[in-house]
Symmetry: C2
Subunit: 305 residues, 2 copies
């Protein structure tokens, strides 16, 4: 099968095509004929420098495809089923390929109303947002600040926070202000007009999808006793204590139960991933470059099928 | 570390002690110092003949322990946390050991009100029951027949079916009738007094935890349009069509979200695992022999700590 591999860490050009053996599903795994794969910041971060010790590495975790083989014991998927999921994260995902194997606990049936491209986008990003909101126990009536609300995680986080009945303050800029408003955000903060910390005060929770200095600057917008969850950097415990808030970094984990919940929200018309750009698998380096600008909207997806 | 390994398939005596290297957690995994491990029918079935191609194999999936090391990127567990879960099923679990590594999506924080032995029992068995009820979409007001209701899966299934508001008919025999009644079953069928199919008719759903001839004999107790889920055998598609019912076999999969749900039910006083026998890890062969009689009540647990 065709795959895009890296043989060492580096810039986007390290992504090169290769012919690899088609993988066999282990017990409890399905094999998917891949249709679409979405990319995330972790893809380029781990392409630059990742946790893998042996090469080649096949990056890629977010996949939609059709089941074409079953490992021993698999009963809840059949050959021909359309499924999607975040596969094996944070271990080697191997989804930049024509075929990938997946533990059955990592995938779910694709919502019928989504295209394969859209389903491939409904994976790491909304799982991250959902797990962050579970961790902060975001509830009806609370106010949450969502950073980079037009981005891959952000645009799904806005929708999921509204599903929970929260009031959403969303940061964005320029032409993305309207997009974020269309997602249901209650208040939009143009972070280029003025620093966000001058525009927001006393929120119950912050979802930091950006890291860098956005993270430390976010402490001051929380009420005492509020919660800061970052998916992009490690909050300082000293700062958290000084501000009287809870602050944690989370790492997303695979969960069929969460995918099924997301699928129900899609079918109820309450959640929709936005795919802004697509590239063929062979051009994944271009997709990484686009994502690395930090200026993309919604999700970027690779066509494989 | 000490572990109980098998070097080939066979009778309980193939379980032998060995000294193995303490495993290192991969990215996204925690390492647990194991306190307790529970055993399931799959343990002895796969000791007799399993899906593993290379030996030695360390069986064991159901674990409670204390986090003692974190793999790269792990943020949602800390060293010292008490956690439990079903690890890596249906691949090699490696929990018959003093230390085991676990993907963070496979484990959850231990409910404070459970002992490590009890938490080790709140894993494969209730996950199986919960996933079976999800598959059959068991709802308030429906009637479900639960086979072997005093057993490992059965005694938790009765409680979980009551949580869903279903009416529970439970099969048991002898001195277990009172135990099953104490779990909240609405009607008890003594399958030794008369065949269960002479005592039950028109139920919405059957949970078959037994297999063998219990499975085909269960078709006739369902109403047309009812659902039979087996965890122990493959239902005949022809029979299902003849009886006008849906019939499926399921294989349990790891799920932190489901463990967290089970933990909340425990803390709300609505679910409690019953540990009937404990053995030290070195005597796991005895635990297998006990379980293989098919006459044990609740769960059997190995003490490791």
């Amino acid at each position: 099968m065709k795959a895009m591999i890296i043989e060492h860490y580096g810039d986007p050009d390290v992504l090169t095509p290769a012919e690899l053996p088609t993988p066999e599903p282990a017990p409890g795994e399905v094999r998917l004929r891949v249709q679409a794969v979405s990319v995330n910041p972790v893809d380029f971060k781990w392409r630059r420098n990742g946790p893998f010790k042996t090469f080649p590495v096949v990056l890629g975790w977010d996949v939609c495809g059709v089941v074409d083989a079953l490992g021993a014991g698999v009963t809840d998927f059949r050959v021909g089923d359309a499924v999607y999921g975040m596969v094996r994260f944070p271990q080697e995902g191997r989804a930049y390929a024509q075929f990938v194997t997946a533990p059955v606990g990592d995938v779910a049936h694709k919502p019928a109303t989504l295209s394969p491209r859209e389903a491939a986008a409904l994976t790491l990003a909304p799982l991250t947002a959902h797990q962050a909101f579970e961790r902060m126990d975001l509830r009806r009536g609370q106010t949450v600040l969502i950073h980079a609300a037009a981005g891959g995680v952000g645009h799904l986080a806005v929708q999921l926070a509204k599903v929970r009945g929260a009031r959403v303050i969303a940061t964005a800029s320029g032409r993305n202000l309207d997009f974020v408003r269309s997602l249901g955000a209650d208040e939009i903060v143009d972070y280029r007009a003025r620093p966000f910390e001058e525009q927001v005060r006393g929120v119950d929770a912050v979802l930091d999808t950006v890291g860098g200095d956005t993270l430390p600057r976010s402490f001051g917008v929380l009420r005492r006793g509020g919660t800061l969850i970052s998916i992009a950097g490690q909050p300082s415990a000293e700062e958290a204590e000084r501000w009287g808030v809870r602050a944690e970094r989370i790492l997303v984990y695979p969960s069929r139960a969460h995918l099924e919940l997301l699928g129900k929200l899609v079918e109820a018309g309450r959640l929709r991933p936005h795919v802004s750009q697509t590239y063929p698998l062979e051009e994944v380096a271009e997709a990484h470059r686009a994502l690395e600008t930090g200026r993309t909207v919604g999700k970027i997806v690779l066509d494989v099928g």
